[in-house]
Symmetry: C2
Subunit: 319 residues, 2 copies
């Protein structure tokens, strides 16, 4: 039995988390409209708390804990935005957060998670070591595991960004979201299919991590590829839950090259003046690489986050 | 006889330019409030057209041309935001724009000005060569010189950012703006003195370009220092017009080190997720360097622009 959220669950999440999350702005850019030939609308989750949409799902997960679960705390193994989001969402609601991170994680990410008040357990940088360390935490504390995307409440929470977007832009021709494990795309698809049934829904993915596109094409979940893309938020593969939602609701998954990602990211930084992480530029890259599909249309993009590492930016002497 | 704008001139500018400029957002950041101990409000002119407040003054100057002046066009010598702003403001109103730029200006700036449809005249990178080239353009075309800050309509136009700011935040304890030639600070001071008479008004300046602070202290305009600061928008010195306004209305000019500028810029990029140029980080740096002055207060900062050169960022491996 696998629980799949429906629109009513996204709506419940919206009511529950609204007092705790930022209602982020929907930005437009005439320059990018001219460059792309598309009417673009950007739902800016880079301005969300902890700098990413992940705070929505994490908050919904924490607010749906039972009393007993709240007392024991939550745990996850992640070095990315989900770890920071869960740490912040839990600790601000008085719930203990245990985060398992590889000791090789960047200092800045360790400091961020520690700064939110989480208890960090370091482990070797392998999935087996991470799972073992998380299991040990659960054994010791009874904490509840909150998976970054294979979770009913996480998916419902991620869908709330699209709910806000569609309340400002009720009739887009298309909605795009980046796809890694598929939590954001699943939630966005559930919300969009209900609120704007005529809109096309696309996932966007790096060609170097195109497991979701291949999963959709072959009909079975394909494993994640070795991590070579700059879009380090999109390295995970789908789970049955997200794959089921995506297969039912998503029209297609568009893939883009690394060069196209960097070009789109450069446009967002220089024209829109917003800091976005590489994963957030993947949908705009997909629009620019498929202009004939979107020409003249109203296209909404979920900008997933803004936690770019300023010491490792991909901008060279490109003028 | 020197014409000094009053608040009624800023108000006229507001009415005239409102249909042509972006009403930029006033952003807040809980993280920066916690870090600074100050309640901060950022008027985000990095989101203005051409990426800087300069578009306000340039638009006001163009809209105040006589019919004869419109027919002959406008000219300025600048390699910075004023050149792009004047080019865009003029050409979009059907007025010819002549821009004198040093041939050594960055390719990206040349392309931006050309992209707005201006006619560029290149010259040697000295003030004498720039003035001579501009004089030649005027001789040949009859174009009207629009100075980047020593201009009645430019100053009145720059004051409109503060008008918008104070309509959303009517009672700040202090308003800060960066100061180079003093156009933005002058316009902001005229608007603030009228709309929020109880507010303190501060200019903020790099220590390596502290000519405005020394001018205020000595009572006579001090020349600009050699260009060594990262805040390349603040290299010019005051003129009689801006000095007169600043002396009458500005409470103090605060100076900051290069390290403080980079630290403030890093905070704005990583916490607020906005792209700002170094000059725009100078007021926040001044707040952080003078916490006792602003502690617990409502402090508004005019964020001047977002045209940072992504190929020359000051962020190293600082974590």
């Amino acid at each position: 039995m696998m629980f799949i959220p429906e629109f009513s669950d996204v709506k419940s999440a919206m009511q529950l988390i609204a007092p705790h999350v930022h209602r982020t702005p929907v930005m437009t850019s005439r320059q990018l409209d001219v460059i792309s030939g598309v009417r673009l609308f950007f739902k800016c989750e880079n301005f969300q708390k902890v700098g990413a949409f992940k705070f929505r799902g994490a908050t919904n997960a924490v607010l749906n804990l039972t009393e007993g679960q709240r007392a024991a705390g939550v745990v996850t193994h992640s070095s990315g935005n989900h770890a920071a989001a869960l740490a912040h969402a839990a600790v601000m609601r008085g719930v203990k957060a245990y985060i398992v991170m590889p000791s090789s994680a960047p200092e800045v990410k360790k400091r961020a998670v520690a700064g939110y008040g989480a208890e960090i357990t370091f482990c070797e940088p392998t999935l087996a070591a991470r799972e073992a360390a998380a299991a040990e935490v659960i054994e010791r504390t009874g904490a509840t595991m909150i998976h970054p995307y294979d979770d009913f409440f996480i998916i419902a929470g991620q869908g709330t960004a699209a709910v806000e977007l569609l309340s400002e832009l009720p009739d887009p021709d298309a909605v795009l979201a980046p796809v890694g494990g598929g939590g954001l795309l699943s939630g966005s698809a559930i919300a969009t299919r209900h609120l704007a049934p005529a809109a096309k829904i696309y996932g966007a993915e790096p060609l170097l991590a195109d497991d979701a596109a291949r999963s959709l094409r072959t009909g079975t979940i394909q494993p994640a590829l070795p991590p070579r893309t700059i879009a380090d938020g999109l390295l995970t593969s789908l789970c049955e839950r997200t794959f089921t939602i995506i297969r039912e609701n998503v029209d297609d998954i568009l893939t883009v090259t690394e060069e196209q990602i960097i070009e789109a990211m450069t446009l967002m930084w220089t024209r829109m003046k917003i800091v976005v992480e590489p994963s957030s530029a993947v949908p705009l890259a997909a629009v620019l690489a498929n202009r004939e599909l979107f020409s003249g249309k109203k296209v909404a993009i979920i900008v997933s986050g803004g936690n770019a590492d300023l010491s490792r930016l991909p901008f060279g002497e490109r003028g």
